[in-house]
């Protein structure tokens, strides 16, 4: 294992300390329990948006804390969900009296830990909504699995909901918007190489020199299909068509019902893409793939979208939701409406995403 670390045990903490030292104008960190929060928190009267997940996906989530995006992010160990005490403490520190939205990627650990955190926060008198992101079309069914994983759409939801909270949307409106972003976003990823979790020291899976893994998640977990490496255009076509031709996707998620005072099952349906849709096209590096290769992918993606009648109205290209040093990419398409577009364009100032300021 060759990594720029001191020890695997100190890696997450030292990385957070470095972030705080580099961006004192935007963020502060709290250690034990670990979370990153907005330097000017709490913002009174604003819905606080908190996310979190395993470390190793940077800049998501810790790099998206700041004006116009997240109020706090709770990093777990590498690829391991954070714990409820982190999310609870973060909520107490950043909440400005208007409630807290937890944006949660659909992994069993994240879901359970955030549900426990929400239960604890409510006992402290904090109003909380949990909204799941489950946009990975590589997972076909939801009946016999945990359901689709939360991947690229998470970044877009954090930006759009962050802007909405900044504008004074109340908790219900921000939660509804987050759910709408989630059902309109779809993603799929692929890997050229595996990655090495520092505490483990060896690659999570083996991939031969001439092989690739299609439909990977973001934790070094193997995908659904392994095949011989193909040219970028063919890979892009596989990923893009899986997204664009994905039929309506129905699943049951668990959300908190404020009136009933209990967790309830909610059925959500992702509508399929239609010709004429306006979309945000997001090409993401898994960490080890250079930007120049992402543009090769974007070139083909734009061609496919045009052919399918999808109008790309915004783009995002770069490493935003990564899997340590893994080579590979993911594509996310998000169907945009006017409100989402306006919120996407709103100013944001975080270590990982910054414009309009």
């Amino acid at each position: 294992m060759k990594k720029l670390i001191n020890t695997p045990e100190s890696f997450v903490k030292e990385s957070l300390e470095g972030m705080a030292a580099a961006h004192p104008d935007m963020i502060k960190i709290h250690l034990d329990p670990n979370f990153v929060y907005r330097a000017d928190a709490p913002v009174q009267g604003k819905v606080a948006i908190i996310s979190g997940g395993g470390s190793g996906h940077e800049p998501m989530h810790v790099g998206f804390v700041g004006m116009g995006m997240l109020d706090a992010a709770c990093p777990g160990e590498v690829f391991t969900s954070p714990t409820p005490d982190q999310m609870l403490e973060a909520a107490k520190v950043v909440q400005g009296g208007a409630g807290v939205l937890y944006i949660v990627k659909n992994y069993s650990g994240d879901v359970m830990n955030f549900e426990m955190a929400a239960d604890l926060a409510r006992t402290e008198g904090i109003q909380v909504a949990n909204i799941l992101i489950d946009d990975d079309v590589a997972v076909k069914d939801s009946l016999y699995t945990q359901g689709r994983r939360g991947v690229g759409t998470t970044v877009l939801a954090e930006k759009i909901c962050g802007a909405a909270a900044e504008r004074g949307y109340d908790l219900k409106k921000v939660a509804d918007l987050c759910r709408r972003v989630n059902i309109n976003g779809r993603s799929m990823g692929m890997a050229l190489t595996s990655c090495i979790v520092p505490a483990k020291g060896t690659p999570t899976f083996d991939l031969a020199e001439d092989e690739m893994e299609i439909g990977i998640g973001i934790h070094g977990e193997p995908g659904r299909e392994r095949m011989k490496l193909k040219p970028a255009d063919e890979i892009t076509e596989m990923l893009a068509l899986s997204i664009i031709e994905d039929p309506a996707y129905t699943r049951i998620v668990r959300e908190w019902d404020d009136e009933k005072g209990e967790w309830v099952d909610v059925e959500l349906v992702d509508p399929p893409f239609q010709p004429g849709d306006k979309v945000l096209a997001f090409v993401n590096s898994m960490g080890g793939t250079p930007v120049a290769e992402l543009y090769v992918v974007y070139r083909k993606l734009a061609e496919i979208c045009e052919k399918k009648g999808l109008q790309i109205v915004r783009s995002l290209v770069g490493a935003y939701i990564t899997s340590l040093e893994m080579q590979g990419c993911s594509i996310t398409l998000l169907k945009m409406d006017d409100e989402m577009l306006e919120l996407w364009d709103a100013p944001v100032k975080t270590p990982g995403l910054r414009w309009g300021v």
Partner: protein
């Protein structure tokens, strides 16, 4: 009968066993999950060990609830809420007690399993820790119903857990990250069922030792 000192000794043994099996559990997890189960459980029980001295003179319920809270705040992943809930519910089932009758132990096991099922929404056969815990609890209850003593009943529970753990090998995972592998999850033993077996076996090992 199980005494408070045996419960304390059990938790210490669990910490030791999980440290010894850290790489083994992580390897099992690498095959169908995200390669962190052994690392997480080891970290969790190290936290338990750091808090145990403060509660080891209290009742068994308090000791187990403290164990649960320590796991919830240190394990992360799915293991944190699941094992945290398991020990919390186990503790709540035997609140205020300094020794456990076989009936108490049965109630403790049942409450623990119910907590895990409720939190994780997993069914028997989903290739999870439930596949080790549920048969173990059933076997324990059946054994004491048939008049077996504590050690014998626990031995049957551990045998059932071991069988349940092995039975996860041909199963198709339906919960957690392993479920994303679909057919490729078949042929691998579930890491959560394995750690559950190890934890139960540690209890048997402690109880079997002459006091």
């Amino acid at each position: 009968m199980v005494t408070r000192d045996q419960i304390v000794a059990w938790l210490k043994t669990v910490a030791q066993v999980l440290e010894e099996n850290k790489d083994y559990l992580t390897q099992l997890d690498a095959a169908i999950g995200d390669a962190d189960h052994g690392i997480n459980m080891d970290r969790g029980f190290k936290k338990v060990m750091s808090q145990l001295p403060g509660v080891e003179d209290k009742d068994i319920g308090s000791i187990l609830k403290t164990t649960g809270m320590a796991l919830i705040s240190s394990v992360g992943g799915a293991g944190g809420p699941l094992y945290g809930t398991l020990f919390m519910r186990a503790g709540m089932a035997v609140d205020g007690k300094y020794e456990l009758t076989d009936e108490d132990l049965a109630a403790l096991l049942q409450a623990a399993v119910d907590g895990v099922v409720q939190r994780g929404r997993a069914q028997l056969g989903d290739k999870t820790m439930v596949d080790a815990l549920t048969p173990a609890t059933e076997a324990f209850k059946q054994a004491i119903g048939e008049g077996a003593d504590t050690i014998e009943a626990l031995r049957r529970a551990v045998d059932a857990a071991e069988q349940g753990m092995k039975d996860t090998i041909p199963m198709l995972a339906k919960k957690g990250r392993a479920s994303y592998l679909g057919e490729r999850s078949i042929g691998h033993q579930d890491p959560g069922a394995t750690s559950s077996y190890l934890i139960l076996k540690a209890l048997l090992d402690v109880i079997s030792q002459p006091q």
